[in-house]
Amino acid sequence: MVLSRYLDERVWLLNRQGKAAIAASAQGHEATQVACIEATDPSKDHYLIYYRQFTAMLALGTEPEEMLRGFLAKETEPMSAAKQFPLHGAHPRVDLFNFSNVIATQLPQAAGVALADKLRGSDAVTVVYFGDGASSQGDTHEAMNFAGVHKLPVIFFCENNRYAISVPLEKQMGIESVASRATGYGFPGVQVDGTDVIAVHEATSAAVERARAGDGPTLIEASVERLLPHTTDDDHTRYRSAEDIAHMSERDPLRITSDVLKRRDLLTEYEDDEIHSTAKKRVNVATDTVDAEPYPGVETMFDHILNDSDRNAEVFRNA
């Protein structure tokens, strides 16, 4: 979580320096992402993420250098060879992917991934992440309906930060909780405090158990705070009240988590400081490395159009 925060801050800075074209931050979402991933099994489960899953990526073993290559669009970027925005493409080691920026398209795809597992008799679980805004798309409804009909081993994980860019929850839906919709699809929906690692871990573990046992989907809604504007292109003072912004930090999961750990004597001041300074150093090293790396050259832009990409490359290089 601490590493994620520092790296996330660095990426924002790199944007301000003109080096990273765009960034969406996970600041405020860290606890929920770490706790959710911890309850799953990366050796066999599937993860369909969206652009805000910065911490989840790290929790799944992505190196800071690999993350930075996405933001700085460098040659050895592992997810899409820098064809796509950061956090888009497919992970080189775990089954994590994010095909597009088009909101909510990942939900029906997740139902499909889970259907394939069910048909093959695998006990793998599919976790699909989405925001409160994404819950409005037709794709979301269609995916949940399909998963409900077929009792698929899928976890619909909503990170509800109450804003879709500028649109607040009350303009997004006529109800207060996304989780309450699950009833309409015939599976359980649970609401958890997304700043509480224990609560998120428990809720996800229960959903994983249910899915592996063949009992079907669960919808989890974790309430979190989006601590920064939507992306580096946004300015949230245009639509968030000064009061709202002033109170944001009360829901900072980093502070909350370290307070809890210290209160339970699971973390000392000294250890906390160590974690912070190690993370800072890690981020500095990664930045120096990746900053010096080259961009992808033109040749490789013709790769992977179709299976016969060599033919494509030949045709279009000559065009």
Partner: protein, 327 residues
Amino acid sequence: MPEQTVIEAVRETMQAEMRRDDSIILLGEDVGSRGGVFLASDGLIDEFGENRVIDTPLAESSICGVALGTAVNGMRPIAEIQFADFVWPAINQLVGEASKVRYGTGGAKTAPMTVRIPYGGGVRGGLYHSQSIEVLFAHTPGLSVVAPATPYDAKGLLASAIRSDDPVIVLEHKRTYRLVKGDVPTEEYTIPIGKAEIKRPGTDLTIFTYGLMLHYALQAAEMATAAEIDVEVLDLRTLRPLDEDAIAESASRTGKALIVQEDTPAVSISSEVAAIIGERCFFDLDGPITRLGPPEIPPMPFSPLQEAAFMPSPEKILAAITKLAEI
């Protein structure tokens, strides 16, 4: 005449039209207090209120379907799709439904709706914030498609779209929003849908283009004067219906046609323009109808060198001009 950017012209046109006609409403994601992600509707919610400037849920099918519903019931909606790359969920409501309302009801119902869509690349938008989607709509009978490239045209064509009794897709190249400035009269005016314009007269060859590429073509035409090549630049402005007469007139007169577009060439606007020139100007041509566009790969890579290699540029256009002029 005040100088404006394209985005300012768009905003002031919507504002003026909304003052003139209170059946006009705006619908879209973040169009309210955020003022739209490109600030096209900045301040409009303060003037017209939440009933006329509606921040919708994040769902393009309902943005366009709801707009269509209001249109067949007495309103004149302007729907905003945040980025062209996100119009796909709404294709059913636009290409499938809105386009056929008049025809399919024997004229009993009409859909006076405008859909504004920022499109195009060269903005480090990667695969999903750079797409050109004009062909989908330009292929569809029952829709009109305009693609203004200057502040003056943005105002005149948007006003025509809003006043049209049928659905009009307004494609605004997002790179032109702040890049392109020009004089815009304060008084109201419209530009007829379906009329191209010669943005630069010339005698040796004609470039047919639209959108951001208009500006690159004008730069290339200027660069070509050094080699004493006199290039005409025709701005298509409307992509459906294409101004066939203007296209044929210019191609016949200069005898050489270079069609430049940012969209991938296969089965595209340039294919259609080439067909028109082939059908109508065959005996007047002094060289092959030539097309310049990006390679046939998904538009467009995020990394900077590859994006630049993908995009047509003034230099690439100049090279094509020189080659064609030599024939």
